[in-house]
Symmetry: C2
Subunit: 208 residues, 2 copies
DNA sequence: GTCTATAAATAGATAGAC
DNA sequence: GTCTATCTATTTATAGAC
C-alpha cells in the first residue's frame, strides 16, 4: 500500500513544519538549512534532496500554509456583517497560534525588499486577500446591510492593514496589546459606520 | 576650530546614512558590514572602529532616525482632529521617502523575534507612539471635539496599526495601493465616528 | 533516499602596524 | 583613525559513495 510514497510525503510534511519554525524564528535570511535538517534528524544534504534550495523551501512553506488556511477560513461564503465578524474570529484564532502569525509577519516584513524570494508571494497574497474582502463587502452592499457607494477596496485595504499592524504590535508586546479585542472594536465601529442611513422605522428596511 | 571633531562627526553621519540604506535593503540579518564600509569608502575594520559591532550600528541607526523624526513630527503639540490630520500628513510625507519607510517596515518585521537586536527598540517605540497618540485623542475629548468615554488607547493602537499595515502593502505593491489616500479615508471616517452626539443646532456645541 | 566530504564564498570580529 | 592580514565560524550547494 504505497509505503514509500506515504513515508516520503510524511517526511516532506515534517520538513515543512520544521522549516516553518525556523523561518518564523529567524526570517528567511537568518534561517539555516542545517538547523532545519537537525530538527527532522536529517543531514543538510539530505534535506536538500527534498527541496533543491533554501529559496524553494521557503516558497513551499508559504504555499503550504496558504493551502491549509484557505480550507479553514472561507471568507467568500460569508458576506456583509457576517464577513466582518468572521474576520474578527480569525484574529481571535490567530491570537492562539503565535508561531504562525510570526511566520507571516517576519516574512512579509522581509519581503518588501524587491529581490526577496517571498516578494512575489506576498504581492499575490495581498491582491487575493483584498479581492476577497472587497467582494464580501460588496455582497453586504447588495444585501442592504451596508450603505451604497462605499469604497469597498479602500475598506478592504484597511481591514487587512489593521490585522497586520496589530499582529506586529502584539508579537512585539503581547502583554500590552489585546489584538483580538482591539480588532473587534474596529469591526464594531465599522458596522455602525457602514450601516445604511436610518430607516423610518425598524423592519421597513428589510421589506422590498 | 575643531576640524578633527567636525570631520569625525561627519564621518559618523555618513556611516549612519550608508548603514540605513543597507539595513533597509537587506534587513539586519541580510546586511553586510563590508558593503556598508564600501559605500563610505572605508575598510570593514575601519568601520568597526566607529561602531564596535553590527548590533550597535543598527541601534545607532534606529536611534538617530528617531531623533530626527521627533523633531519633524510634533504630534504632542496638536490634539483632537488636528492631530488626526497631522497623522494623515505624516503618511502623505512618508509616501515620498520609501527608503525610510522600508527601513522601519523591515526592521519592525524582523524585530518581532525576541532575540533580535531591534526588539527592545521596537517595543519602546510602540509604547511611546501609543502614549503620544492616546494623549492627543484625550485632548480632543477634553476640548469637546470627540465624544466622551471613547477608548483612546485602543484607537491609538488602531491608528498606528493602520499606518504600519498600509506601509507594508504599499511597499510590496506601490502602484496598487495609495497609502496616503486610504489612510486619509480612515481619518475622515474616524472624525465622523468620534464626533460628539449631534447638538440641537449648529454653533450650540461650542457654547459653554 | 541518505550519507560524508568538500567546495567556495562570505560573515563578523580582532591584532597589530603605521 | 585607518589600514592589512588573519582568525574562526558559518553559509548554501554539489559530488559521489552506499
Amino acid at each position: 500500500m504505497r509505503r514509500g510514497y506515504a513515508t516520503g510525503q510524511a517526511r516532506r510534511e515534517r520538513i515543512l513544519a520544521a522549516a516553518l519554525l525556523e523561518f518564523a524564528e529567524n526570517g528567511y535570511r537568518g534561517a539555516s538549512l542545517a538547523r532545519i535538517a537537525e530538527r527532522v534528524e536529517l543531514s543538510q544534504a539530505g534535506l536538500l534532496h527534498h527541496f533543491r534550495s533554501k529559496e524553494r523551501l521557503l516558497v513551499a512553506v508559504l504555499e503550504h500554509r496558504d493551502e491549509l488556511d484557505a480550507r479553514r477560513f472561507d471568507l467568500a461564503s460569508a458576506g456583509g456583517v457576517d464577513a466582518l465578524h468572521a474576520m474578527a474570529a480569525v484574529v481571535g484564532h490567530n491570537a492562539r497560534v503565535p508561531g504562525l502569525v510570526q511566520l507571516f509577519s517576519v516574512i512579509s516584513g522581509e519581503a518588501v525588499t524587491p529581490g526577496h524570494p517571498g516578494h512575489e508571494w506576498a504581492r499575490r497574497r495581498y491582491r487575493r486577500l483584498r479581492a476577497q474582502v472587497a467582494a464580501a463587502l460588496r455582497l453586504g452592499v447588495e444585501r442592504g446591510e451596508f450603505r451604497a457607494g462605499l469604497d469597498t477596496e479602500a475598506h478592504a485595504d484597511r481591514l487587512i492593514a489593521m490585522m497586520d499592524g496589530l499582529q506586529t504590535q502584539w508579537l512585539i508586546d503581547p502583554e500590552r496589546v489585546d489584538m483580538a479585542a482591539v480588532f473587534r472594536g474596529y469591526v464594531d465601529d465599522l458596522v455602525a459606520l457602514l450601516a445604511p442611513p436610518a430607516a423610518p422605522g425598524p423592519g421597513t428596511a428589510a421589506a422590498p
